[in-house]
């Protein structure tokens, strides 16, 4: 079955080609069927592959040699193992739901743009699958850049709006900055080991060749790549801006694909990270910082999608925290559960936006509970999941990370818990402002409020179910022995790390206390949030102080502009207008001008006077004779000069 793995990316690729080339000729329903069908087909194959892996274990499926030069062989091959098959399921599964959802959500678009949309979407899935399936870092990089491209295309999908274009560009460029780090890491690996294939790199013989410095640098550089792709500080600002794209795209980017690439990559390279405790600490700190930082911003955002975006950044921070403290399974677990509830949240938000006729400001919503019942229920479930209320999925995964963090250092835990509380707060602020209370929008909007069509609600329901029960694949040891089936499933991937890493185990009682306290705190925060925003009325008052700082996202974009973008722009202008024009080209033209000037001056020697000509001749004769017999010191030095040259 694993042999058929190439079908998984092939279907979306075909979908891309069909929709891309036939976007003018195919009908909308046809486009929808092709687009979604392709991903569904991939999903089916993924399931088969998953089952195959579960019984038969990992394998590598070679396709063709990609680059084969002396000293460097990079095959185009697919890595089929527990980790990739799990991600395959998440991507194709959630991807399919999002495709399905999109068929309805994007129905207002013109035919050709509709086709273009689905083509991009399929390409996105294709790239992500390539990223996951690649059996070496280069193929991973192909997908890595591919998702960057697709995000660019999708964020800028409505290309008439230049703000969206800027957002798209920003996403691509920020990703590229990270990509450079990734690339350098790959170069380093190739330099040291002559290969980039996982099985070779992670083999004991190879690892022995790497010095501690090599590993630290490689992992740090890889992490830079992950920062870009998974929106960690300092490369996170593109992600909230990426909301410019259609909402299902946001779901796809934030939930199933792209942003999880960084997690996947580090999980894939877990052995390297385990061997580089310095980098691990860095990862943990950056992750934690991002988690807190993004959460603070989310507190004061009013755009429904922005809140979710910062929430994603924050959640990604948790995942990195997990990776940083060695809880690889926990991080992957959180990727999975996060995929469920974040997709659900975005799709729910999309449903709301759809109903509100593209109104995204939550201050102008409220009381949508009765108009959008299905959306409301599923959204609430997602909120509970993300907030970490047991027994929803988020609880298990987040708990696993936090516990591991506590084991490493209680400080991690406390800060992480603070973030979790904020998460609970802003999610329920969002929920309350959107669904509870009275409607604050226009009458016109209120009149048109309606529940979304089935194509949109079915994915919501499916995702809601997954959000609720998804956590059950990773029930901690605390509750039941050997109930953490995910950990067992993934064990071969992380076997190397487990062997090296030092293990901190918490006492069961300690764990219980932590769980109890955190759950209680979260519930308290939720109640507080619901209470304080239930009666919310928009008052035009400006925020001030910290609130304003938060509302403006800590002015990070402005900071980047001042510190990096503008100086670069000025430097470029300096190069273009001063160095290039005056210095370099000026020198070249100067030679020409010098010749012209010399010509005008030299011409004057030709005075037309025979007497002058002859005087010069006679003097030249004198000089010649002097040179010859070099009687004079001057002549001697002149001669020396000539000889030297």
């Amino acid at each position: 079955m694993s042999k058929l793995v190439y079908l998984i990316p092939l279907f979306p690729l075909l979908g891309f080609l069909i929709n891309g080339l036939g976007r003018k000729n195919l009908s909308k329903s046809m486009i929808g069927i092709v687009g979604s069908g392709a991903v569904l087909a991939s999903f089916v194959v993924s399931v088969l592959v998953f089952l195959d892996v579960k019984t038969n274990g990992a394998s590598v499926v070679p396709l063709f040699p990609f680059i084969d030069v002396k000293g460097l062989v990079i095959p185009f091959a697919f890595q089929v193992d527990q980790l990739s098959s799990l991600f395959l399921l998440i991507i194709t599964g959630i991807g399919f739901l999002i495709h399905l959802y999109s068929t309805a959500y994007m129905h207002e678009e013109e035919n050709q743009h509709y086709g273009r949309y689905f083509a991009y979407l399929n390409l996105f899935v294709f790239s992500m699958l390539l990223l996951i399936l690649g059996s070496n870092y280069v193929i991973m990089f192909i997908g890595w850049e591919g998702v960057g491209l697709c995000s660019y295309l999708l964020i800028g999908y409505w290309f008439k709006n230049n703000d969206y274009n800027y957002a798209a560009k920003k996403a691509f460029i920020m990703n590229r900055i990270g990509d450079l780090g990734f690339l350098l890491a790959v170069f380093w690996l190739i330099f040291k080991l002559g290969t980039a294939t996982y099985t070779d790199v992670f083999s004991a013989a190879s690892l022995a060749k790497l010095s501690a410095f090599d590993i630290t640098t490689i992992t740090t550089l890889l992490f830079v790549g992950a920062m870009g792709k998974s929106a960690q500080i300092p490369l996170y600002t593109w992600l909230p801006d990426a909301m410019a794209g259609p909402t299902p795209v946001s779901a796809l980017i934030h939930a199933a694909t792209m942003v999880t690439a960084g997690i996947y990559m580090i999980a894939r390279s877990n052995i390297l990270y385990t061997m580089a405790p310095g980098t691990q600490t860095l990862v943990a700190i950056v992750g934690l910082a991002t988690a807190i930082f993004a959460a603070t911003i989310a507190l004061k955002q009013n755009d429904i999608k922005k809140v979710l975006a910062y929430s994603t950044v924050s959640q990604l921070g948790y995942m990195f925290l997990g990776l940083g403290v060695g809880a690889y399974t926990g991080a992957v677990f959180h990727v999975m559960t996060h995929a469920f509830f974040k997709a659900l949240l975005f799709l729910g938000a999309g449903s709301v936006i759809h109903a509100m006729h593209h109104e995204q400001d939550i201050r102008k919503m409220g009381g949508l509970k009765k108009h959008l019942p299905i959306t409301h229920i599923t959204f609430l479930l997602a909120c509970l999941a993300i907030a970490g209320i047991p027994p929803f999925s988020g609880f298990f995964s987040k708990d696993e990370i936090l516990m591991a963090a506590y084991a490493k250092s209680p400080l991690y835990y406390y800060v992480g818990l603070g973030g979790a509380l904020m998460t609970a707060f802003y999610m329920f602020r969002l929920y309350t402002l959107t669904f509870l209370g009275g409607f604050r929008g226009t009458h016109d909007q209120e009149h048109h409020l309606h529940e979304s069509p089935a194509a949109m609600t079915i994915p919501l329901v499916v995702l809601a179910i997954l959000s609720v029960v998804g956590g059950l694949v990773g029930i901690p040891e605390l509750f039941a022995k050997d109930a953490h089936s995910l950990e067992h499933f993934l064990a071969p991937i992380f076997a190397g790390s487990t062997a090296i890493a030092e293990h901190h185990h918490l006492e069961a009682s300690q764990e219980w206390i932590l769980l109890g306290v955190s759950t209680a705190l979260i519930i308290a925060v939720i109640l507080y949030a619901v209470n304080s925003f239930k009666k919310y009325q928009a008052n035009g008052s400006e925020n001030s102080g910290v609130a304003k700082l938060l509302e403006n996202k800590w002015y990070v974009d402005e900071l980047y502009n001042t510190v990096i973008v503008n100086p670069l722009h000025l430097l470029a202008g300096f190069f273009k207008n001063i160095i290039e024009k005056n210095l370099i080209d000026g020198a070249v033209n100067g030679v020409g001008r010098l010749v012209g000037y010399g010509s005008r001056q030299l011409r004057l020697i030709q005075s037309g006077q025979v007497g002058n000509y002859l005087i010069i001749m006679v003097l030249a004769i004198v000089v010649f004779i002097l040179i010859w017999f070099n009687d004079l010191t001057i002549v001697y030095y002149l001669t020396r000069l000539f000889k030297m040259a």
């Binding site: 990609f66 030069v69 192909i142 690339l183 350098l184 170069f187 380093w188 190739i190 190069f575 273009k576």
Partner: protein, 475 residues
């Protein structure tokens, strides 16, 4: 025999085209001839081993009319052979005054280029080097833009200075050969002292650096690209700049290995500076043609650096990239030409929203642009990946700094796409119509090459393997 035909077909048909006064016929003949050359180039690519042709030429001077077509030459001949029909097709609707002369000169240029890539005799090489230049001089000066005369002249003198210095170098090496011969082998076998190598290196490298061009000898290029008729610009930047790179690999590296080794740092630093510098300038360009020109400088800088890292991976990358850069940049020029022909402006600030009017053009351009930024699965990725790899193995910091150009490339390329194609429809764009069939065909061929080469570059790697082997065996 094939190498000889590769030169003589364009040469003879070029002369024949001159004699035709009738414009459609000359155009058609040029196209047919170029396609015939392409077929021949393909035959060469698929034939095994190194192809030779040898005839007496100047026995007195120790120079023979000898041609040699190894993998690198096959590849570059293929590039030359592909680019001409593509250019002719893409510009088929452009009407030129005195079209017979135009197409005649174009074909002569092709003959010169083929000769440069095939010659295995130094004097012959120099001959073709100039033969490729002179038709271009006339092409640019007669059919170019407003400032064509001054700009083309600058270009000509610049490169001419270079080639004269090269001539001095050739003569010097020639005077040191054991058998007083201009043959490639004799040049390879010549033993020079360290100081002599340094002289020879300087003389040759200046010539090649001007041709490539390498910072800071590049200022002829943006002007020349801007002012030339686009068909010529395509050849100039698609194929002609490869002459410099080719020449370094073919002549300089094996001839004066010690000097190459000794100057590697210097050249690489220059190249890397040039990459960043050109990329930054490209960011600030408003003129599409100049933007592409500077982008090309940046790319060439990488290729030059990758030659001088002197490792296998880097060189393989250069090989692939020579071909792929040609394909990509020709594609970009075709788009620039379409825009200029249709809308009468090249200023990005006057454009916008073209994607709404000309979706096909937009898609093809985006693909070309992505290839320009070396996105994986486009052809440029493979080459750049290998070249950066090579550079990295030479010096980590160089690679890291050069890597910034990857980011900058994304910045200016996306800027261009955004300003030209996205946003609201600009005033000048309102009447734009989508691509004509011939342009679509030309661009389509290029795009297919971009993707195929991006996904499956191995045949190209295998093709040029023998050249790389030869260079590293001689070490």
């Amino acid at each position: 025999m094939i190498p000889l035909l590769l030169i003589s077909i364009p040469l003879l048909s070029g002369l024949a085209v001159f004699l035709l006064k009738d414009s459609p016929a000359s155009k058609a003949l040029a196209l047919v001839s170029s396609i015939a050359t392409l077929a021949l180039a393909l035959v060469a690519v698929f034939s095994k081993g190194i192809l030779h042709y040898d005839a007496a030429w100047l026995p007195v001077l120790g120079s023979r009319f000898s041609l040699m077509q190894d993998g690198m030459a096959k590849m570059l001949c293929l590039l030359t052979a592909i680019s001409f029909p593509v250019v002719f097709t893409a510009t088929y609707n452009n009407s030129y005054q005195k079209s017979a002369a135009f197409y005649g000169l174009m074909l002569l240029t092709q003959a010169g280029l083929m000769g440069v890539f095939l010659a295995s005799d130094a004097l012959l090489f120099y001959f073709f080097w100039e033969l490729a230049l002179i038709p271009v001089y006339f092409l640019c000066s007669i059919w170019g833009g407003e400032r064509r005369i001054a700009v083309t002249f600058k270009f000509f003198v610049y490169t001419f200075v270079g080639s004269l210095l090269m001539l001095v170098g050739l003569l010097f090496v020639y005077s040191k050969t054991a058998d007083h011969s201009f043959a490639l082998e004799s040049f390879y076998q010549v033993k020079l002292m360290a100081k002599e190598q340094a002289y020879v290196f300087a003389l040759f490298f200046i010539a090649f650096a001007i041709k490539m061009p390498i910072f800071p000898l590049h200022t002829w290029q943006p002007d020349a690209y801007e002012q030339s008729p686009t068909a010529t610009t395509m050849i100039l930047s698609g194929v002609m700049v490869k002459m410099g790179i080719y020449a370094v690999i073919r002549w300089l590296v094996p001839m004066v290995p010690d000097a190459v080794h000794g100057h590697a740092n210097f050249v690489i630093i220059l190249s890397v500076i040039g990459m960043i510098y050109a990329s930054l300038i490209a960011i600030r360009q408003d003129d599409i043609k100049r933007l592409i020109a500077y982008s090309s400088i940046a790319h060439i800088g990488l290729m030059c650096a990758a030659i001088f890292v002197q490792n296998r991976i880097g060189l393989e990358g250069v090989m692939i990239q020579m071909f792929n850069h040609g394909v990509n940049v020709i594609g970009l020029w075709i788009v620039a030409d379409v825009i200029e022909q249709q809308l009468g402006t090249r200023k990005m600030s006057e454009l916008g929203g073209l994607a709404q009017k000309t979706p096909v053009l937009a898609i093809l351009l985006v693909l070309m642009a992505l290839a320009n930024v070396a996105l994986p699965l486009t052809n440029a990725f493979v080459g750049e990946f290998l070249m950066f790899n090579g550079l990295f193995q030479f010096n980590i910091w160089m690679a890291a700094i050069a890597g910034i150009s990857i980011i900058l490339a994304a910045v200016y390329t996306l800027n261009m796409i955004q300003k030209v194609f996205y946003g609201q429809v600009a005033e000048k764009v309102t009447n734009a119509v989508d691509l004509s069939f011939n342009t679509q065909l030309a661009l389509g061929i290029l795009v297919i090459m971009v993707l195929v080469m991006g996904l499956y570059p191995q045949p190209m790697i295998n093709l040029t393997k023998d050249t790389v082997d030869a260079i590293f065996v001689q070490r």
